[in-house]
């Protein structure tokens, strides 16, 4: 595993074909930016329309959900164009020179083959949907929108082949390899054990050599479904369901808002303000980082956007205060999912819904455990600040006033979001689009930090690439989850637990381990929907309070975001800060360990979760 760990690499930088040069490139960029703007504008029109003509804009929710699907797949193709899909690393680059080209052709061929089969599965789904004839809204059939799934995968496959070699002969070799792999996978041979094993080995080698991670996850889904003789069109169905789920639009929207804010000079203004406010305390900026991140996660529902939206502001702030780079990276990665237990965080609500517990009970139960986790990280941050001998600024009321005045528009943003949500004006998605509009107006018209012709499209294209890379990875993981559910794997695990575990403490320990893996592998919403109905009855049998179980569950998932090798915060951090996955992983380990202590305390001291509950 060390070799693989060493080989973990940053997303490959720019490769031949990167940058918006050709006509197609420009169209792709333009459509992505148009969709992002539409996604931001429509929910706003909905908020206004609801006041003016009572029902808002007919079909706006449907549009926004499908725009997310389009952004995901167009952005995925953009990421492939610019070589920005995340991989474990390019081991092929370490091969002796004469094998290097062959290695790249090999992993590209396997990756393109898997991606083409995913595209074909998408075509199957689209054709069947077309025959079924359902309409998204009047005059717009569902299959039209779904077509972006096969189109996106097809474009990604083409680009994988194109980037496999600088020469056309090399590309031809990759193309031939792709064709051979497609024939092998779709021949029906996979029903038998030996070819099934061979295909798994080929896939693993391709991913280790440098194939994109989404190919690893999606490839497992493809191979398992083919081996089980279940139609592979199930994969795009699962992807479609997840990517059009009602709360997912918050991800592209908050990402876009985050890029607008970071392209402007928000970070400089906020840092000045916070330094003036608390800079006289040791480790103060780190504590501010922890609090601001928790606050943001609470509002964005642990969708992982905290790191993306705030990372670009807070990392320079920490470095400016002379925090070591490794510590700062770890702190930001770890803070990315803090705050998950506080109201109005979406996963808590969803958990309560699925488990049939009153939402306010869940939020009451989560209060002390949430404070505990935040305090642990903040205390560690103060300690880190003291040890590094970070700079301290003498307090000055005049400077505080000046800094606050300069940052007044930025400081108003959370107030606007809070008012939108708690004033009953807006849903989460609408609040996200309010954030985009607000960031846009402040940066373009008030502060004039963003140039509409140059920086604005750049922020849009960058958001689309990032969201695309992320959503394609999520989509592939969802395909795999779909297989596990279809095969009854979660149920089988818990049947086994029911039969073998008899002590409450042993059960809790196994639960912790299992949930860490779940939190690392699954989207938090799918994890809640799939896993909770299975473990709730088991936990009841062991006499665990339902609210306590919920808090254990969510706290573990929160930690799972940081879990190597595939915790989501690690990827987001690597993406956002352009560091290697190995570097991010090493930086986060101390935080992982102290948070693990916190989660164990939450698990084995039920009173933390239940003492505030009435009755």
């Amino acid at each position: 595993m060390t070799a693989a760990g060493e080989a973990m690499d940053a997303p490959a930088g720019s490769v031949p074909g990167g940058g918006a040069r050709s006509f197609l490139d420009k169209i792709e960029n333009a459509v992505s930016i148009f969709l992002l703007c539409g996604m931001a504008a429509l929910p706003l029109a909905e908020v206004v329309g609801r006041k003016l003509w009572r029902t808002g804009i007919p079909g706006s929710t449907t549009f926004v959900q499908h725009a997310t699907l389009w952004i995901g797949f167009l952005g995925g193709a953009l990421a492939a164009r610019d070589g920005r899909h995340l991989s474990l690393g390019r081991l092929s680059d370490r091969l002796p020179a004469r094998f290097r080209g062959a290695g790249t052709c090999f992993f590209s061929a396997v990756s393109a083959a898997i991606t083409l089969i995913l595209a074909w599965a998408g075509v199957r789904m689209v054709l069947l949907e077309r025959a079924g004839g359902s309409l998204l809204m009047p005059y717009l059939p569902g299959w039209v929108s779904q077509s972006v799934i096969p189109a996106g995968f097809g474009l990604i496959a083409w680009r994988l082949i194109r980037h496999s070699s600088p020469s056309w002969s090399g590309r031809a070799a990759t193309g031939a390899g792709t064709a051979a792999a497609v024939v092998f996978l779709s021949s029906g041979l996979l029903l038998r054990p030996a070819p099934f094993a061979v295909s798994l080995i080929l896939l693993l080698s391709a991913v280790v050599l440098g194939g994109p991670l989404f190919v690893g996850l999606g490839g497992l889904a493809v191979i398992f479904f083919l081996h089980a003789d279940v139609p592979i069109a199930s994969i795009p169905v699962e992807i479609y369901r997840l990517v059009t789920s009602p709360t997912l639009p918050t991800i592209p929207l908050f990402t876009f808002a985050g890029y607008l804010l970071t392209t402007g000079n928000v970070s400089r203004r906020l840092v000045r303000f916070f330094r003036a406010l608390v800079g006289w305390m040791p480790g103060a900026i780190a504590v501010v980082t922890v609090l601001v991140c928790s606050f943001f996660t609470t509002f964005t529902g642990a969708s992982g956007v905290t790191i993306i939206a705030l990372g670009g502001i807070l990392l320079p702030a920490l470095l400016a205060e002379r925090y070591p780079e490794k510590f700062s990276l770890g702190l930001l990665t770890a803070s990315g999912s803090l705050g998950l237990l506080f109201p109005p965080c979406l996963p808590v609500i969803l958990y309560a819904v699925v488990a049939g517990i009153a939402v306010d009970q869940m939020f009451l139960g989560g209060l002390l455990p949430g404070v505990l986790l935040v305090t642990i990280v903040a205390a560690w941050a103060v300690r880190g600040g003291k040890r590094a001998g970070t700079r301290r600024t003498p307090f000055s009321l005049g400077e505080l006033g000046a800094a606050a005045w300069e940052a007044k528009w930025d400081l108003l943003l959370p107030v606007i979001v809070l008012l939108g949500i708690f004033g009953g004006f807006a849903t989460m998605v609408e609040a996200a689009s309010i954030t985009v509009l607000y960031a846009f107006c402040v940066e373009v018209f008030v502060q004039r930090d963003i140039d509409l012709r140059r920086q604005f499209p750049e922020a849009g294209a960058e958001s689309a690439r990032l969201v695309g890379g992320f959503l394609i990875l999520l989509a592939a993981a969802t395909g795999l989850t779909g297989y596990l559910v279809d095969a009854g794997v979660p149920q089988a695990i818990f049947e086994w637990v029911r039969a073998t575990i008899h002590s409450k403490y042993a059960f809790l320990l196994i639960l912790n381990g299992f949930l860490l893996v779940v939190g690392c592998l699954m989207h938090i919403f799918s994890a809640i929907v799939v896993v909770v109905p299975i473990i709730a009855p088991l936990a009841a049998a062991f006499d665990i309070h339902p609210v306590h179980l919920g808090i254990i569950f969510l706290a573990n998932l929160e930690l799972g975001f940081l879990m190597p090798p595939v915790g989501m915060n690690l990827f987001l951090s690597a993406y956002r800060f352009d560091r290697s996955l190995g570097e991010v992983t090493r930086s986060v380990i101390p935080f992982l360990l102290i948070l693990l202590l916190g989660v164990l305390a939450i698990t084995y001291v039920p009173a933390l979760s239940t003492i505030l509950l009435p009755g």
């Binding site: 449907t62 819904v353 004006f425």
Partner: protein, 320 residues
Amino acid sequence: AGPTVIKMATLAPEGSSWHRVLLEMGEDWKKVSGGTVVLRIYPGGVAGDEDAMLRKMRVGQLQAAAITGMGLAFLDRSFYGLHVPMMYASDEEFDYVRDRLSPLLEQRLEEKGFVVLNWGDAGWVHFFAREAFTHPSEMKAMKLYIGAGDVPLTQLYKEAGFKPVPISVVDILPGLQTGLIDAFNATPLVALAFQWFALAPNMADLRWAPLTGATVIDKKAWERIPKEMRPKILEVSRDASRRLQREIRNLNEEAMKAMVKNGLKVTHVSPSAEAEWRKMVEDIHPQIRGKIIPADVFDEVRKFRDEYRATHGGAKASAR
């Protein structure tokens, strides 16, 4: 070859009585087929919401689904015919109409490649709100949840004078908490299961509309089951739905009791107030007929309903 495996999805939670009845039905299938037809159930929505279940049936990952009538309306809007508000006054009246309409509905589904194994029952939909209410005018003053996605239905609520807020199901709880919505409608079982009533603890004892359910199987999968076995499977499936019907009606009553114990206040809707609600809906029948529900189905529904009232003595509501 091994047994024919039928994979069936449902929103019914794991361990609920609906799930239990489906499990029993699977045992019966095994028995009458001599072990050659095996039912595998995916409960609690693990296979997705009802539209995703139907999509998975289309691509062949699932073969069957136990689904509500609102889910079936994704396939054919005729199913809205069973859910016309204020159309039915009692369980008996609704059963009468559904029994007569079901051949037509089953035929429409069959044209789309689905076979109905049995019909179920999910109970009566009631309004729940943050403030107490009895008259339509009071409900119209409140912001009412409506499922996002059905554009014409949202329009209809607006034309009837409501303030519908089209949001997704996951936004209902936070929406009630923040005042984005003030009211929703649902069956007692659902209002309890999702704890929505805790934030909207006022209900009127007005039966707004019935909610039905059905177990459907993919036609190709159905035809893979040997012909002589199909009538037996159909028979045990219909037995299961009869058991479920009794169970669901009890469960809705129990759900009411549980909610009242936890702070739900039920206001009585007087016959004159009920007449106001009925008039409001009847005034927009021309918009429902044709736009929301195919005209022929709407006419059939009204014909059967009137037929029942003519033969059974008026629109007398049954004892609750």
